[in-house]
């Protein structure tokens, strides 16, 4: 196992060096940001190589910090370049919008996500829904989704309270937490997929 870890680190380092070389040659601000995000994902590989539960717990905050910095920097970029108000209106590709393929792919992803369950499953299922929403152009009523997200979050928290105060019912809590986080992440991701660039009133 130790050997593999060393090789893995070597690969990550080589990837990092390549990415930083590219960064040193790049002159465009936006491309620099994109390259850095790429480097960061590779860097997270170094934590992932630990291959333990601890590593999984460490990747999430690492990813969150990366996304937070990415969002902050994108905002600064928009401000400094004076870019504003350019709503994104989904993928306007006629072939995708008319065909059945997005639906089939989405069903597959959602089903697979439910099998995976938990946070990862939520991510996969959410991706399926995002794909469906951006390939269709019609509008959904998002209030229902927002409510589902809130309720599933409450379920997740409730499960944690069961863990803390009634540990003998751990199985119920486990199921509640798994389903809650699955729904929550799925719904949140699909909201992210549909709400971008829209003006809220």
């Amino acid at each position: 196992m130790w050997e593999q870890y060393s090789y893995g680190i070597l690969v990550v380092m080589v990837a990092g060096v390549i990415a930083f070389l590219a960064l040193a040659r790049e002159r465009d601000d936006l491309h620099k940001l994109l390259l850095l995000d790429l480097v960061e994902i590779v860097g997270l590989g170094m934590i992932a190589l630990l291959g333990t539960d601890l590593a999984e717990a460490l990747i999430l905050p690492g990813l969150t910090v990366g996304i937070a910095e990415l969002l902050a920097l994108s905002q600064i970029y928009c401000t400094k370049e004076g870019i504003r108000d350019r709503p994104v209106r989904g993928l306007n590709i006629e072939v995708i919008a008319k065909a059945d393929a997005p639906l089939i792919l989405s069903i597959f992803l959602v089903a697979y996500g439910m099998v995976l369950s938990g946070f990862t499953g939520g991510g996969v299922a959410g991706l399926g829904l995002v794909f469906l929403f951006i390939s269709r152009t019609y509008r959904e009523d998002l209030n229902l989704l927002e409510m589902a997200s809130g309720i599933s979050w409450a379920l997740w928290i409730f499960a944690f309270f069961v863990f803390m105060f009634l540990p003998q019912y751990w199985f119920v809590a486990l199921m509640g937490a798994a389903i809650g986080i699955l729904l929550k992440v799925t719904v949140k991701m699909s909201l992210v997929g549909t709400m971008w660039g829209e003006q809220h009133d």
């Binding site: 870890y5 680190i9 990550v12 990092g16 930083f20 960064l23 601000d29 620099k32 940001l33 850095l36 995000d37 480097v39 960061e40 590779v42 860097g43 997270l44 170094m46 934590i47 190589l49 630990l50 601890l54 590593a55 460490l58 905050p61 690492g62 910090v65 990366g66 937070a68 910095e69 990415l70 902050a72 920097l73 600064i76 970029y77 401000t79 400094k80």
Partner: protein
Amino acid sequence: MIDLVGGVPLFVLEFGDELVYFTPYTITLFLLALTFTVLVLISRPERQIDIAFGSDAYRAKEISVDEMRFRRLMAIACGLATMGAMVTGDIFNFTLFTAMVGITNVGIVAAVKSKHVQDAAYQYGLVALAATVPLFAGAAIYAAVTGSLSMIELMKGTVPAVPLIAKGMLVLGVIGEGMAPFYAAKAEMFRAPGAPYVIMCSLSSLLIFLRVVEIVMLG
């Protein structure tokens, strides 16, 4: 336990996987961060006055209340993150707090709505984002080699020695995150309107540099 930079821990709190401890060294740093956060909380923003050379004329720069409020929020968040970085006894929590110091510093600098300040903030943000890579990677190698992220375990000297590359990466990451004063100076932030908040950049960088020295000397 003899050659500890920070001295022997006076107080250790282990709450689940959250680990907090105080040594004489970290108490000093923590109190410094706390004092400055309170100062930021109660101090009133200044208005920059430019005096035209050779005459009696002067002009005051107007800054909107919203901008001030945002910078105060960022300065307080920066103070809290610094305090966290001072007292935590967990390597990964330290890196997270350091990354948060970096983000809040970006926020403090970027709140000024002028082109050259925004440029400096963006460049600093890129450096901070790049620095998170060695920062987290260093912590990951710590965990891989010693099997623990606890600084108390490192102090005991029972775990394997931490390789130099992990320490180097940790220091490199902290240097990158703590670059804020350089960019703030580059953007002439210290003279810029709303001066009291920008001092938090310098203070937080100084404190995380001092803390990482202690951490690197541990294992």
